[in-house]
């Protein structure tokens, strides 16, 4: 394999498995054996890397205070103010959590771990108004991002965020709530058509007692657990939740289901059934070892096939994080990143529903595309923001307490106020790189000749880079 091809493979690998890699690092890695590069990529930190913007104690204190307040029959003015303050604080904390993750995504030394966390974030899609719960779920998804899928699944199912979101907290003996059992099979492991309504009913009973306690910590509650016999997938026994998960994972369809999701996320919007089957088999044989699945994908010939390069539309997160990494951007007021996420249609921690973000072409409409093409000039060239944006439905309560009325929708002119470290950006490239070479590196799909010659007309890396990042081609990875 010639050097150019190895270079381009490493570039592709890091675009998909991470959020891009600098030119010089790409060059260094392309001298190494690809399998070894993949092995290195699969390594996570030895000490778990967590987001900790809210502590368990703070969370308990806040929730208690809230419970007490809500228990009052009538609130006096001071109490009403406390409630308003709580709503504002909650919103602020949720934004902080979002930004803490964005910061990690941009600056992590373990790009695949973060990319996998993003993958699980979309697969086990969940919203929680309680910052601590959302943070905890995110940390669980990060900790087991490249671990064993069974462990990940069980740990996710036991987070208060998921117990609340899919109503397992209300799932009790004699009064089953089927929400979790249904999504477990439909969205987390098997997909429609691989189970019956009866399977849902019976397995819901097995998950009774999976609850969090009065301190908001998971604790199996024997008192509400249904110990009776259940018939699931044709077998009868006194199954509990873990038995059900084992019976689901005993079916190769579950491995294929996750393999398909992974191929869609990392390889192509339309992955080849043969490749999915192959990756699914490997995953199944490994006993659901996520590393084994990802190693298989990243070392497969088809992963590097021309039709699988430069053909995926970047998610808003990939676009924002990739751009910030490549250009060493820092944001004076990172809240602007929240506005961008909302307007681009991927507000982390706020998926549209439990099915996650549909991805692919659904990211693109007139407005989101125009904004995407404008972002480079906003971030890299102090461009003016001429949109006010749309609130997430969950923020309505804060809107309602924060102002007397809807503000006039006039133009609020503002800037992103990003600081771009151009010196660092330039250092990432060889000194003699030409505009055309820079464009070829920043893009995964080569633009047509005329655009190329327009880009090549530029003087200097900086103006070339801004133009390149503003192209439709830059939306692909």
């Amino acid at each position: 394999m010639d050097r150019k091809e190895r270079f381009s493979k490493i570039k592709h690998l890091y675009n998909r498995a991470g959020f891009g890699l600098s030119y010089l690092e790409t060059e260094q890695l392309s001298r190494r054996n690809l399998a070894k590069v993949v092995d290195k990529l699969l390594e996570g930190p030895t000490i778990p890397d967590e987001i900790r913007i809210q502590s368990a104690e703070d969370n308990r204190r806040l929730l208690r205070e809230q419970q007490e307040l809500n228990a009052r029959k009538d609130q006096n003015e001071a109490e009403k103010e406390r409630k308003k303050a709580y709503l504002r604080l909650r919103n602020q904390k949720n934004q902080e959590l979002n930004l803490a993750w964005i910061d990690k995504l941009i600056h992590t030394g373990y790009p695949l771990q973060e990319k996998m966390t993003l993958f699980w974030h979309g697969l086990f899609a969940c919203r929680s108004e309680t910052t601590y719960f959302a943070q905890q779920l995110n940390n669980v998804q990060r900790r087991y991002a490249l671990g064993n899928f069974r462990t990940l699944l069980i740990e996710v199912a036991r987070t208060p965020a998921m117990l609340q979101y899919l109503n397992n907290q209300q799932n009790r003996k004699g009064r089953p709530n089927e929400n979790f059992a249904r999504e477990l099979m439909e969205l987390f492991t098997l997909g429609r058509g691989n189970y019956t309504e009866q399977d849902i009913k019976e397995s819901a009973r097995a998950f009774t007692g999976w609850m969090y306690n009065r301190d908001w910590v998971f604790e199996f509650n024997e008192k509400v657990h249904d110990t009776g016999t259940k018939t699931f997938f044709g077998k009868t026994g006194r199954f509990n939740g873990e038995d059900i998960i084992d019976m689901i994972l005993a079916r190769p369809e579950a491995a294929d289901f996750i393999a398909e999701k992974a191929c869609r996320f990392f390889v192509s919007d339309q992955p080849q059934p043969a490749h999915i089957k192959e990756a699914g088999r490997r995953f199944y044989e490994s006993g659901y070892d996520i590393k084994a699945l990802m190693r298989h994908i990243f070392t497969a010939d088809w992963f590097y096939a021309p039709e699988n390069r430069g053909n995926k539309i970047k998610s808003p997160t990939e676009l924002l994080v990739g751009l910030s990494r490549t250009f060493h951007a820092r944001y004076a007021d990172p809240k602007v990143l929240i506005r961008l996420q909302q307007n681009l249609g991927q507000y982390l921690f706020n998926p549209p529903n439990v099915a996650g973000w549909p991805g692919g072409r659904s990211w693109i409409d007139s407005s989101s595309l125009m904004l995407r093409m404008k972002i480079p000039s906003l971030v890299l060239n102090d461009g003016e923001i001429d949109f006010s944006g749309k609130a997430d439905p969950e923020e309505e309560a804060v809107i309602a307490v924060s102002r007397a009325a809807v503000p006039s929708r006039g133009k609020r002119k503002s800037f992103v106020n990003a600081e771009v470290d151009w010196a660092a950006f330039t250092r990432d490239f060889p000194k003699d790189i030409t505009p055309a070479e820079l464009a070829a590196f920043l893009l995964q799909v080569q633009p047509a000749g005329k655009v190329m010659s327009m880009l090549a007309d530029n003087k200097g890396l900086r103006s070339t880079a801004i133009e390149v990042a503003s192209l439709p081609e830059y939306q692909l990875c």
Partner: protein
């Protein structure tokens, strides 16, 4: 290149020079005498869950006053519509509209197994799904997919906003978000974007890159279509100074200019009134009513009201019983307003919600919101609702 220059220059002088492939060429705006009979739908979303019971007040019900000790609207303040129901006094500006026969109130609109989360319920309303179904397209988007005459152009459905809601996203076709036509036009006419778009006709393949280029060119061509054609009409009516009213003014300008747009989408925010509801909701309702009053009369003055149908909905209503903070928490079924110059059923469409017949403290729905959608699709937009909603819903007779 100078800092701050790039992508900020405007090129109004050379506007319209896009090389638009013939199949993407926009239609002309309708001439004034062709305008008559061109039906428009305007959807207004009240985000946050508007409290329907304090909007259309069941002042004839004792239960209402028992459950809402401190936030109920007093009987003497209600604008009476019949012996049972009346409007919140902040909706005074709607009385004239109501009396003209331009307004219908449909009570108890909802869906089975209601979800009390904002985003999920909004998702259900916008996609037109069942409570346990997850669709990644919206009901208006699927109307665009169904190949109506002008559906290939994004401006067939315009959202007056910066970002496009799920409601307007179809599988293959999407509407366009335009808050300010001039700004969108400027953005798509950045010299840099124009240059790349002009050169890239060969990229219009079926792959993702082709999709991006096609979207870019369609956006530009829709932006110049909207900008050029909406210059024709300048609103004479005096709209109030609220953000909501200015969105309505934009819609009126588009409708009266003869844009070949079928659906307009507008939203208004801030209805999630958990604390101190009366003042907050009162303000919003006042803005809403005053904006609507001017908007509808503006359309009437331009002979467009007969061809316009306006729906106003919110993702859910609120609990019957107030909370401890002088507010209300998330509920279920709600009322929905229909406006237009040619309504078949005017005034109160159905009975007030039965406050004695609740389900865990919440109203039971009587009309599925998709029956309202089906009615609009079949009887107003002339599209097959069973295709768009992927099943048959009965239609109602308000139009």
């Amino acid at each position: 290149m100078k800092r701050r220059d790039f992508l900020k220059n405007t090129a109004l002088a050379t506007a319209g020079a896009w090389m638009v492939p013939a199949f993407l060429k926009p239609l002309e705006a309708l001439a004034m005498n062709d305008l008559s009979g061109y039906k428009n739908l305007v959807v207004i979303q009240l985000s946050g869950g508007n409290d329907g019971l304090n909007t259309v007040v069941p002042f004839g019900s004792d239960i209402y006053y028992q459950k809402r000790r401190s936030i109920a609207i007093k009987p003497e303040e209600v604008i009476r519509l019949d012996d049972m129901q009346g409007l919140n006094p902040n909706l005074a500006a709607l009385q004239e509209i109501y009396d003209q026969g331009w307004m219908t109130i449909i009570n108890s609109v909802g869906y089975p197994n209601p979800d009390r989360s904002h985003f999920r319920s909004m998702d259900i309303w916008q996609s037109g799904s069942d409570a346990n179904q997850f669709l990644s397209t919206g009901w208006i988007g699927r109307y665009l997919d169904s190949n109506c005459q002008t559906c290939k152009f994004p401006y067939t459905a315009i959202e007056v906003d910066d970002a496009l809601s799920l409601a307007l996203k179809g599988k293959t076709k999407k509407g366009i978000a335009v808050r300010d036509p001039a700004a969108l036009f400027r953005n798509t006419n950045e010299p840099f974007f124009k240059r790349i778009a002009q050169q890239e006709k060969e990229h219009l393949d079926e792959d993702n890159l082709g999709y991006l280029y096609k979207t870019m060119i369609e956006t530009a061509s829709s932006a110049s279509y909207i900008q050029q054609n909406s210059k024709i009409y300048q609103a004479k009516a005096a709209y109030p100074a609220s953000g909501f009213a200015s969105q309505l003014k934009t819609v009126s300008r588009f409708i009266c200019s003869g844009l070949q747009t079928r659906v307009y989408y507008v939203s208004m925010s801030g209805f999630d009134t958990h604390v101190n509801q009366p003042g907050q909701q009162g303000n919003l309702l006042k803005q809403y009513a005053e904006g609507m009053n001017v908007f509808l009369k503006d359309l009437q003055a331009n002979n467009r009201l007969d061809d316009t149908l306006v729906l106003t909905f919110s993702e859910f209503g609120r609990r019957v019983e107030q909370n401890a903070s002088n507010g209300t928490d998330h509920g279920t079924a709600n009322n929905l307003f229909v406006f237009g110059g040619r309504l078949n059923r005017k005034g109160l469409f159905n009975a007030a919600p039965d406050l004695a017949d609740l389900e865990s403290g919440d109203l039971k729905y009587k009309v599925d919101f998709r029956e309202v959608y089906a009615t609009v699709l079949d009887k107003w937009l002339g599209a097959g609702s069973n295709q768009v909603l992927s099943r048959n819903f009965s239609t109602l007779d308000f139009i």
